[in-house]
Symmetry: D2
Subunit: 345 residues, 4 copies
């Protein structure tokens, strides 16, 4: 890291910072400019972490501390020397040249709704089936999902269609039940920094789809992934699902498609985009899906419902099943632009 001193810093203050760096086990390397001195703290990675924790920002004469090394290791592109991770989920590949079309209902509501949707998305070429049994809801009075019964319906849908299942875990105490059904465990945006949950999912070894928090810088998303990876679980997909900005009219959040090429530069992990939750409006979903695929995403996760106007949750953003095949075909063409193809068995 680099410590930028104030213009007014005295020689004693510069020496005190240098001494503190060396006490933490790194080397201090000052560069004196015409007006400002910058001190490099040089060491190996572990030392860098120690230096970070010694609170140099508060010392007299210090203007600011500029981190140089990325705070994540296992999630970084360097860790795999530039090679991209390709996950294999029950026979389906995700990442590299394999574009994952993940589709299904926001929430599992009934046997018929789930089976019908599963068949439609399978026939249209979907890679994985998504569906929520446990729903994090802003209001404690809103429908919270079918729970275990929802998991059972997802298992049934998998048995019939062969599609691997992506479903969300909210409560660490439901982990075992979810592990019985989920091929991929979804971590919702609100839980991106729920560290005990991340750690337990890491320990479970099951692939995870980690949604970016609404105000998480990409480095924080990668640090959250690091919590999972460091438990030995390599199966992490990153998911951009919209961020909070000043712009709240006409959409629920702002989809950050720049995150796609940037995450692919920073990390070896696959990058998925969720246009449905980002927009909250189905009419924006096709344009955003094409844009995500053309920008090089490794997949998209979209909501589909046989009758969106009757959905118990997030109906306005669900695509209707009856136009899904056509939608999937255009997404496939956009993915081809970026050199990927829909992944299926």
């Amino acid at each position: 890291m680099m410590i930028v001193m104030k213009e007014s810093a005295t020689d004693e203050e510069i020496a005190a910072v240098a001494e503190k760096i060396e006490r933490a086990g790194a080397r201090a390397h000052p560069s004196r400019g015409a007006r400002v001195t910058v001190i490099g703290a040089i060491g190996d990675v572990e030392q860098d972490a120690s230096v970070e924790s010694i609170g140099l920002e508060g010392l007299p004469g210090v203007d600011r501390v500029v981190p140089i090394l990325k705070p994540y290791k296992l999630a970084s592109a360097q860790f795999r020397h530039g090679e991209r991770t390709v996950l294999e989920i029950d026979g389906r590949k995700v990442g590299g040249e394999h574009f994952a079309l993940i589709a299904g209902p926001c929430t599992v509501e009934s046997r018929e709704q789930t089976m019908h949707t599963a068949r439609v998305v399978r026939d249209a070429g979907a890679t994985l089936l998504r569906g929520g049994a446990y729903k994090p809801r802003t209001s404690p009075y809103a429908f919270q999902g079918l729970g275990v019964e929802g998991l059972r319906l997802l298992a049934e849908a998998k048995a019939e269609t062969g599609l691997p299942i992506v479903t969300e875990l909210m409560d660490i105490r439901d982990l075992d039940a979810v592990l019985e059904v989920a091929d991929v465990i979804q971590i919702g945006a609100r839980n991106m920094q729920n560290y005990p949950l991340l750690t337990e999912i890491g320990r479970s070894g099951r692939p995870a789809l980690l949604k970016r928090g609404l105000s998480a810088p990409l480095d924080e998303l990668l640090m959250a992934a690091e919590y999972i990876l460091k438990e030995g679980n390599q199966g992490v997909m990153l998911c951009e699902r919209g961020i909070r900005t000043f712009e709240n009219d006409y959409r629920r959040t702002t989809l950050d498609l720049m995150a796609v090429p940037i995450l692919k530069e920073l990390s070896h992990l696959p990058v998925i985009v969720d246009p449905s939750h980002a927009a909250g409006r189905r009419d924006l979903v096709p344009a955003l899906s094409l844009a995500a695929a053309a920008a090089g995403a490794d997949g998209i996760i979209v909501e589909v419902h046989p009758n969106p106007d009757e959905a118990l949750c997030d109906g306005p953003q669900a695509l209707p099943t009856d136009t899904f095949a056509e939608y999937a075909a255009t997404v496939e063409r956009a993915a081809a632009l970026a050199g990927t193809a829909l992944s299926a068995v």
Copy 2:
């Protein structure tokens, strides 16, 4: 709620929306303007919630849906008919005319650090002692707190100084251990929408200090409080601790002091401000503390350390113990401006 139709909406579309509202058990009340029709959905509160869940936004001809009623009930100012909640925590009052000065180390590091800080803040007139045993850290490689040993030290500090304890719960599985020591359970910003955690804290009946998420609109903060309140726990303090904005230089987040008067208008719950985490720099803490108190906050929560430059966590934002008494005295004067006085036994 009001449903604003598009200018191009047909009579059939208007009728379809109205019918859907009535099927959900509310009355539809259309107002036809020169260009646009607006349909009011009128019913009692529960009906309003039902109407909200029926996904009118996706229907043909609908421009947007404008909620009228606040989505929270128990947290609303109306629920207590304008009377403010005054909590009593082991003899100390918080709220109304009672200003809470909550102070202590970010993290419990050692017996000596904890005891010394506790004595200093008690002598300076602090209301409650804060201290972290479990620390949510962005990096999995950073110091995560002393855990149970930290709780034990807090209990000892309370035994000696008489100060009630505020400490954070991150993992639902640590609830019992925390309940043995905490007079107030802190819920961190990252966990503001960790619904299982909120629900269990609600059930425990122990007062909670609920920190606002970094991108949580005030209505979402109040909805999170509602999760606690609906379990029968009335002891919720709301805590503004800075929000994420485009402005990232020279501070960690942007303290939103407008939240103070607005939350006091929307809700009967006490409003606390955390200038330490908002700023991440101790030199900003005094000015922000005065501002918070002058703006009418019901308390502030600040970090104090005997030797901030040696702190294991967040040292740069900690006030040193040796100037804390002076600091507390100026905060007291600012609180007086807003008509409140430091709360003590």
Copy 3:
């Protein structure tokens, strides 16, 4: 507009609001719910504007005022009954099925740089040539453009290549000089709400490319367009160029591609995307360009330089001329996905 009253509003307060609405020439239409009364102010458009200006938000008992009608008229999709505007700029069409590839140097630096770039982009199929003679710079000490000499070089480039010219006007006093050369006048993001500038460009009748301000909601962008349109100038292109969000690492701003389908729903005006300024990094430009075209943009504006590492301004975001033809070909394929084709003579 709808006026939402507080739960505590008295009958007198409701009557006072209604009376004030009627005095402003509209009809007041109250809907009394179980807890809250909402008053519709119904009238024709001009009355609606009058009602807006009467400050109902401040009246006793008023919770908030919800505008119903869009504040812009000439820019609205309704104004042209859903038909999209297709501009014709010296023989090139922009809008509808005509995708505009607008390319050229950030800043006109020299005769050779300008001519070479102009030839390259013309040969690759560009629609218009962009180039800055007057540059708004954050620092008063930075290179501010060649001014009149830059305009002269642009005229020469047009004479040679036949490409119409897009160039920025910053200072109202330079209008005549710019009108001599510019086929399209660019209004920079910082000047989006420079109303005298908008008005004079409106009066000039010359087509304008209006960049969205870094924190402008889409409605404000359309209101800025309205300033131009109301002077009788119909030639406005809207340009998304990135917005300010909490996310500042690894890019200059956050490109808001949701703006593309939303603006196309709200307005009949063509929508252009500027990936170069949004990113500030050339390596992100190709992915974002494909995404913009796939999302349905009516064009993109990109920066190109024969030797970006030597550019006087914004070199890091410029595409090199020697790969531009390949870039243009992939953009063309992405545009085809959304049903448009590169516009040329």
Copy 4:
């Protein structure tokens, strides 16, 4: 500045960056860490600016460029060696220990409204009279101010009350008319980066009140001030008036009070706070005014109207004249907390 190289950077890439720095006239000073090399570009200030303009970000192997020196000079605290600027405006001091209470109508509407308000604020101890003759309005259809007639009324108000006048200039062509009346020229938030306007006001020598743009980082505000200062005009007041964040409910913008202590650290210029425009609601203005004064602001600028419900512009945020004296007295007490006193003749 420091150039952080990528982990994958080759020795050749490092050498190429170093060479480019030296060609620009600075010295290159590389620090090789275990994983990453950082190159310091060291030179005097002018060289630093040259290095900044050479586009190192785009070179192969470069991860990012970290500026070390502040981009402004005349506005920096260092420029005056830590001494604060105290302006003298027709006998009233602003800055240092002199707190400016700037008050008056949003817009000059009539002789009676202006004179009455001027007398009330003078009697309550105001330092300067504010009032708008030219109003930047989001809508081209809204009331745009009385123009020259408004300036005339302000001159009359000054003649009667002796209060110096603060009024906004929007159009460079109105400069001479405004100079005849204004003791301080206000630059609105939308014009913070209207460089021709800043330059001309700089040349006029008249003190300026420069409002922060809604999405301007503090460094950009100071760069805008630098445009004025570099023309030889030392009379700049900086004004925080709320920023755009995700939080749009219940207020117009988010007041950033952290800006007060930070600006006072970065710059010698006085810092004024505008709670009226920030909130858009008069009921928040008193709490925010106390907070601003307690945080150490050098003044506040507030809107006052004899009958806010009838105001032609921004009535909902105006304080009524009949409670203004009481308001001014509480602000005075809050300013005293921060060691300042109301400035008057």
